[in-house]
Amino acid sequence: MPSYKLNVNGKQHPVQAEAEMPLLWVLRDVLGFTGTKYGCGHGYCGACTVLLDGEAIRSCSTPVNSVAEKKVTTIEGLSAAGLHPLQAAWAEVDVPQCGYCQSGQIMSAAALLNARSNPNDEDIDAAMSGNLCRCGTYNRVRRAIHLAAGNGSTHDVGQGGGK
C-alpha cells in the first residue's frame, strides 16, 4: 500500500492508503478529522469541502495521491488560535441548524474570502451554490459571510443575549 505525507492543518501526517482513496476518507477514517463530512461522494453537495493551498475542493472526489505536498486545511484547522472571522460571524448570526453541512459551508466561504475580501451577493451565489443545506440556513450563510467580510449588520437577526 502506498505511503504519503499529508500536510493537514500545518502538520505532517504519514499515511498509508490506496492511491485512489479519496482525501475525505483519509481525513475521516484514517486521520480522525471527522469535521469534514460525507454527503454524496461525487462532489454534488459540498459537505466534504476542504482547502487545498487555500482553494476550496471537494475532498470526496480528490484521490489522496493527487494531494502531494499541497497544504490541506480542514474545519479543525481553519483558525490556529481563537475564532476565524467566519466562525465568529457564524456564532453571531446563529447560522447552523442541524449543522452537518456547516463545515463545508464555512470552508467554501473561507476560500471565497481568500479570493475576494469583500464579496457581493453575486460572488456569494457563485461561490456557495454547490454547498447544499437541507435545513435551509442559506440566508444566514449569506448574512454571516457579509458580516465576516466586515460589510454586514446583524440588526435583523435578534438581540442576542444569554450566552
Partner: protein
C-alpha cells in the same frame, strides 16, 4: 398570564446529589402516567426526566431528553427551565441524555411537539427549584420567604442580604419539595421571548460536534450494505470472493437488509460492495413504476372511497350549484435526503449492546436492538449523537437495526454507513397522491360545497390528515382510497398537511378566482370558525402590503394553515419572465405559536421550513421504474441551493394562545403560496 402548578410526588422527585454538594431535581413530563409504576433498570436510582442540577459553584446543568436535530430544542428547553429558576443563563450548561425506556417519558422527537409537550412541566421544575432556594435563604436569614427575590442566580432580601444559588444548593436539597409553586407572569420573563444564541453553534462551526457518522470507538470497523434494488426484494445468492480480496475488506456477511461488507474504512466497505455479485429475488413489485402507480390512483378515484369527513349534502349541492369548478391535483413522491446519510454504530458483546444513534426515536432503537439480540432493555445502551437532519426520516429505525445485525456478526464495534444512493433509494418517502376536487359557488359567488377524493398509498394519516378545509363551507365531503404500491412511505416534515394543505389552499384559490374575488378576502370571509387563523391571515396581508398593486409580470399568492398547535400564513411575491422562468422576491411569513421561547429560533425554523417546502415544489421528484427508485444522488434529485433561496420575512404575532408547535407548521403552506403567486402573475 399567571398559573399555579399543582405538584405531587409522582410528578416531581427530589434527589440529593451523591456528593451532597448541590441541589438536584428531577421531574417527569406530564402525561407520562406509567413512569412511576415502571420498574427501574438494575442498579439505577430513581431519577426521572430532564435533570436539573445546581452545583455548589452555582453552575446549572440541564439534561435534554428530546433529540436536537437542528430545530433548537437543546437551547429552547433549557431556556424554559432557566426562566422559572431565575438562573444566570451564562451559568447554564446543557447535556443530551441517553435513551431510557421510561424515565424521560417519550423521547421520540417529532410532530412539532417537543416544546408544547414539555412547557408546563419544565416551567414548574424551574419554579420549584427556585422556591426551595428561596426557602433555604429565608431560613438562614430568619425572614419571610415572600420578602425575598431572585435574580440571575441570586436570592436577595431588602435588608441587603444576598446569597448565590450555589451557596444555597446544599441546604435547599434538604428541604421538602413544595406541593404548589407559582409560575411567573409572562411580562416578568427575562429569558423567554428574547432571542438567545443557540448553545451548539460553536461546536457546529469548528468541526467538534459529533454526529452519528463521526462516532469513533476503539477497534471499530466500518460497514456498508448492498440492498435489494427492488422494494421487498431479497437475496437469492451472492458471491463475496472478489469483495473479500478488496484492500481493507475484513468480512462479508448476510444480514436482514442485504449483504454487508465490513472493512477498515468506509471507503473500503463501499469498494467492497462494488466487487460483490448478488442475485436478487426481486419479489412482487419487480415491475412497479410511477405510471402504474398513477393509473392505480386515477382509476380508484372514479369510485367513491372511504368517507373521512363530511357535513351536509356535498354531492347533491354540487349537482345543482350555479357555478361548478373541478380540478385534479397530483403530488409526487419526495425523499427526505437529510444531509447526514443514514448510519449507526453498534457494539454487541456477550449479554449487552452499546449503540450510538443519530435518531429521532431513541427508545425505539433501544427496544428494536433488545428484540433483535434477545436482551432485556437494561442491557442496551443508546447514546443519542448529534443528528444531521431528521425531518421524519429518523423516526424509523432501519439504520440502527442494520448496525445491530452487522455488529452482532462482526465481533467488533461497527459503524454501518449508507451511501447517499442507498439513502435516496431506500427512504420512507412522502407519499404521492391523486386528488379530485369539486367545488360549487352560489349565485353570489359564495362557496356552498366542497368535494375532495384522494387516492394514495398507506397510510391514511400520511395521505388524508389535514384535508378538512378550515373554511366555513356548509357542505363538504372527503373520501379516500388507500392502495398498496410497495413503495415505503413515512412521515416527512409536516406529514399529511404537506399534501392536504397544498390541495386545500390551491383549490380555495381557484374558487376565489371563479368567484372573481380577491384570494385573501375570499379566505378571510370564510374563516368564521377560526378567529386565530383569520388574525394570522390578516397580519400576513398587512405585512406583505397585500392591497398594494404590483408591477406587471409580478404576483402575490397567499396560503395559510392551522396545525401542530399554531397558525401560519405565507405570502409569496414572484415575477415571471416571458420564457416562463420565475423568481421569488420574498416570502412574508406570519406565525401565531402562542408564547415564544426563542424568537430567533422561531425565525430559523420558518426560514428552514420555507426552504424545505420550496425544494419539494420546485425541485425533483422521486420516480419508480422496474420496481426501483430512478434517482440516486443530488445530480438527479436536487434540493434548493443558496442562490435560489428567497428572502424570508418572519413576523411573530403576540399571542395569548396556548403554546404551539413550530418545526413543521411552516412547511405546508409554502407550496400553495408559491403556486397561487405564479397564477396571479401569469393570469
Amino acid at each position: 398570564m399567571s398559573a399555579t402548578m399543582q405538584l405531587n410526588r409522582r410528578d416531581f422527585i427530589k434527589t440529593v446529589s451523591a456528593a451532597g454538594a448541590g441541589l438536584a431535581l428531577a421531574f417527569y413530563l406530564p402525561g407520562d402516567e406509567t413512569a412511576n409504576a415502571a420498574p427501574l433498570l438494575a442498579g439505577e436510582d430513581f431519577s426521572p426526566n430532564a435533570f436539573l442540577r445546581i452545583a455548589a459553584d452555582g453552575s446549572v446543568l440541564i439534561t435534554v431528553a428530546k433529540v436536537e436535530m437542528g430545530q433548537g430544542v437543546k437551547t429552547a428547553l433549557p431556556m424554559i427551565v432557566a426562566e422559572e429558576l431565575d438562573a444566570d443563563w451564562s451559568n447554564v450548561t446543557v447535556e443530551q441524555s441517553d435513551a431510557h425506556p421510561t424515565k424521560y417519558g417519550s423521547q421520540g422527537t417529532g410532530g412539532s411537539f417537543s416544546i408544547r409537550g414539555s412547557w408546563q412541566m419544565l416551567r414548574s421544575a424551574g419554579a420549584t427549584a427556585r422556591a426551595m432556594l428561596v426557602q433555604a435563604a429565608a431560613r438562614t436569614w430568619n425572614v419571610d420567604p415572600s420578602s425575598c427575590k431572585t435574580e440571575n442566580g441570586w436570592v436577595t432580601h431588602p435588608s441587603g442580604k444576598k446569597a448565590s444559588y450555589g451557596e444555597l444548593a446544599a441546604q435547599a436539597a434538604g428541604l421538602p419539595v413544595p406541593t404548589s409553586v407559582p409560575l411567573k407572569d409572562a411580562h416578568d420573563f427575562r429569558i423567554l421571548g428574547k432571542s438567545t444564541h443557540r448553545v451548539d453553534t460553536a461546536s457546529k462551526s469548528n468541526g467538534s460536534a459529533v454526529f452519528g457518522i463521526d462516532v469513533r470507538v476503539p477497534g471499530m470497523l466500518f460497514a456498508s450494505i448492498e440492498r435489494p434494488p427492488v422494494f421487498g426484494g431479497k437475496v437469492k445468492s451472492f458471491d463475496a470472493s472478489k469483495a473479500k480480496s478488496v484492500a481493507g475488506v475484513r468480512d462479508v456477511v448476510q444480514v436482514e437488509s442485504g449483504i454487508a461488507v465490513v472493512a477498515n474504512s468506509t471507503w473500503a466497505a463501499f469498494r467492497g460492495r462494488e466487487a460483490l455479485t448478488v442475485e436478487w429475488d426481486e419479489g412482487e413489485y419487480a415491475s412497479q413504476n410511477s405510471a402504474a402507480i398513477r393509473t392505480l390512483f386515477a382509476d380508484a378515484v372514479k369510485e367513491r372511497g372511504t368517507v373521512e369527513d363530511y357535513d351536509g349534502e356535498a354531492e347533491a349541492v354540487f349537482a345543482s350549484a350555479p357555478t361548478r369548478i373541478e380540478a385534479v391535483y397530483e403530488a409526487p413522491l419526495v425523499a427526505h435526503v437529510t444531509m447526514e446519510p443514514m448510519n449507526c454504530t453498534a457494539h454487541v458483546q456477550k449479554g449487552r449492546c452499546e449503540i450510538w444513534a443519530p435518531t429521532q426515536s431513541p427508545q425505539a432503537v433501544q427496544s428494536e436492538a433488545a428484540r433483535i439480540l434477545g436482551l432485556p432493555l437494561d442491557r442496551v445502551t443508546v447514546h443519542i449523537t448529534q443528528v444531521g437532519g431528521g425531518f421524519g426520516r429518523r423516526l424509523e429505525t432501519d439504520y440502527a437495526q442494520d448496525a445491530v445485525h452487522v455488529a452482532r456478526l462482526a465481533g467488533a464495534p461497527v459503524q454501518v454507513v449508507w451511501k447517499r444512493e442507498d439513502d435516496m433509494q431506500h427512504d420512507h418517502y412522502r407519499p404521492s397522491s391523486y386528488n379530485v376536487l369539486k367545488g360549487g359557488l352560489d349565485a353570489a359567488g359564495n362557496p356552498v360545497t366542497w368535494l375532495h377524493r384522494v387516492a394514495g398509498p398507506s397510510s391514511h394519516g400520511l395521505v388524508v390528515s389535514g384535508s378538512t378545509p378550515p373554511y366555513n363551507i356548509p357542505n363538504f365531503s372527503i373520501d379516500s382510497h388507500i392502495k398498496e404500491t410497495g413503495v415505503p412511505i413515512g412521515p416527512w416534515r409536516s406529514v399529511g398537511p404537506s399534501l392536504s394543505t397544498f390541495i386545500v389552499e390551491s383549490f380555495i384559490d381557484e374558487l376565489a378566482h371563479a368567484a372573481k374575488k380577491d384570494p385573501f378576502e375570499f379566505r378571510r370571509g370564510l374563516l368564521t370558525k377560526s378567529p386565530r387563523l383569520k388574525r394570522t391571515l390578516e397580519a400576513a396581508a398587512q405585512h406583505s402590503s397585500w392591497r398594494t398593486p404590483l408591477p406587471g409580470g409580478m404576483g402575490r399568492g397567499i396560503a395559510c394553515i392551522e396545525g401542530f398547535g399554531s397558525t401560519l400564513a405565507h405570502v409569496a411575491e414572484v415575477s415571471v419572465d416571458k420564457d416562463g422562468s420565475f423568481r421569488i422576491h420574498r416570502i412574508v411569513s406570519v406565525i401565531d405559536c402562542g408564547p415564544v421561547v426563542n424568537p430567533d429560533g422561531v425565525a430559523a425554523q420558518i426560514e428552514g421550513a420555507v426552504a424545505f417546502g420550496l425544494s419539494a415544489v420546485m425541485k425533483d421528484e422521486i420516480t419508480i421504474d422496474k420496481g426501483r427508485v430512478v434517482q440516486s444522488n443530488f445530480n438527479d434529485y436536487s434540493i434548493l441551493s443558496l442562490p435560489e433561496m428567497p428572502k424570508v420575512e418572519v413576523h411573530i404575532i403576540p399571542s395569548n394562545e396556548s403554546i404551539g408547535g413550530l418545526g413543521e407548521t411552516g412547511v405546508p403552506a409554502i407550496a400553495p403560496a408559491l403556486c397561487n403567486a405564479l397564477f396571479a402573475a401569469t393570469g
